[in-house]
Symmetry: C2
Subunit: 251 residues, 2 copies
DNA sequence: ATTTGACATTAACCTAGGTTAATTTCTATG
DNA sequence: CATAGAAATTAACCTAGGTTAATGTCAAAT
């Protein structure tokens, strides 16, 4: 990982971890969590725009995102980039269980980010000793697939306005549980180029489409703040279905 | 599931299962497999074009594909369809671990297909009693994500020729281990409309692009047979990387 | 052998989104 | 507060791929 990363001194005990409410360990009993903690190797804070791992390289850590935004992306030989997913607080990062295989994508922070680190070597041991955790991870991974299927539909079968509407709603709904006080406005650190590389358009066309959405009073995006102006119309434009997005276990 | 489905009388014991060489139980010791077998509820043969489950409906079985082709897809409110993935022999089907949540996509056979059936209720029990299996499933699911990321790149950032080249190579390499005697020609049951709905194009443009690939001596597709004519050029056109595709544990 | 419906093929035309390039904000830094 | 690089915005023009629609081919069913 990048050298600017600093390992924090204070190590939050897993039982006090704020992301427990959001992510993987939600349903694990207290005792289970305390046992899991011993596999953890630490916690670290990364500045914005830090590469966490690079496509093609072997990488020996797994992470849970504590706070901040991370993006996963692939780079093609012609230089273009496809962003695969945004990883937010409570999400799992770099889940590729075989430590010998090089990563197939890269990960980079968008904002300052705090990660909780597990060495990959401990994973199989953790699985064997705590099958509960393996089951939880399977569940999360299955939901990640569901999300990436939504992205496939979004890029493969929708027009520009629909694609943006969907992206905004998807992110809005994943940010909401972290900041319940948030109204219709969330902090949104993506540039228009990031948006373009997420939904398979060019940045110029993203800009045009944003203007059209703004002029129609659907969303407003500026200075890294996104405001949902007309939620119902946006939902219907995007063909948005909450169920396919949420990372929390669904009741 | 469809009523035309017939449950076969003869039940292959899991230890003799031909897909064991390909799929999930590859690394499980014999004794483990015998124990897993008791969770199985049966084996069934479905004709081509059978709906296995439908988007929006709760579905209480999990499957391993024994022989045949299955496609997963989503249908939008405007009637268009996005194919998400082809499920081949040895692959896992409908992995959505929470039985109460409706399926987010549909599954339909393309050819006659034999499935091995697990009731979903047994899954958590299986996980708890056999963490080995949970770990294997995690591994497979992680690889499914890798594949769907490849699809995202394919649709989001490549032109028509590149998309088709990639699809052909991806499928070719997944079919190969099943039929080692196959030369450069494989059976390829997709229609041009299926191809279009997989790579985010229209069937008319798929036809045009196929002609162009044929005229340049790259691939030949007719009568449900696909022939790879110029493998190296196809690989370079597609930006194809084997590692991201294979479902087998890599080394 | 004929019918039928599904699938493939082609042509003519059109448009959503891409390309290029210039200009205008921001925002971080000295 | 000045400056530079990053990000946003806009306009003019272009093309890859979409649309419509007609025709051809094949295989299953009678």
């Amino acid at each position: 990982m990048n050298t600017r990363a600093k390992k924090t001194n204070h190590q939050t005990p897993c039982t006090l971890c704020p992301v427990r409410q959001l992510g993987i360990f939600q349903r694990l009993p207290e005792a289970e969590v305390i046992k899991v903690q011993q596999y953890r190797s630490g916690q670290c804070v990364l500045p914005a725009k830090t590469l966490i791992y690079r496509q093609g390289e072997v990488h020996n850590h797994l992470y849970t995102v504590f706070t901040g935004w991370v993006m996963l992306y692939k780079t093609l030989s012609n230089g273009s980039r496809q962003i695969l997913r945004y990883v937010l607080a409570g999400d799992f990062l770099s889940f590729q269980p075989d430590a010998r295989v090089p990563m197939t994508h890269s990960a980079q922070t968008l904002t300052e980010t705090t990660l909780c680190v597990f060495p990959r070597q401990n994973l199989m041991q953790l699985f064997n000793e705590h099958p509960e955790v393996a089951a939880q991870i399977t569940l999360i991974t299955a939901r990640d697939i569901t999300l990436s299927y939504e992205y496939l539909v979004n890029i493969g079968r929708k027009n520009a306005r629909e694609r943006l509407a969907f992206l905004f709603l998807e992110i809005y709904h994943r940010v909401l549980p972290q900041f319940p006080e948030t109204g219709n406005t969330i902090i949104f650190p993506l540039t228009q180029e990031d948006i373009a590389d997420t939904v398979g358009l060019t940045l110029v066309h993203v800009n045009r489409t944003l203007r059209s959405l703004r002029e129609e009073g659907l969303v407003q995006l500026s200075h890294h703040k996104l405001t949902i102006l007309d939620y119902p119309r946006l939902v219907s434009l995007a063909g948005f279905n909450l169920q396919n997005i949420m990372n929390q276990p669904l009741l």
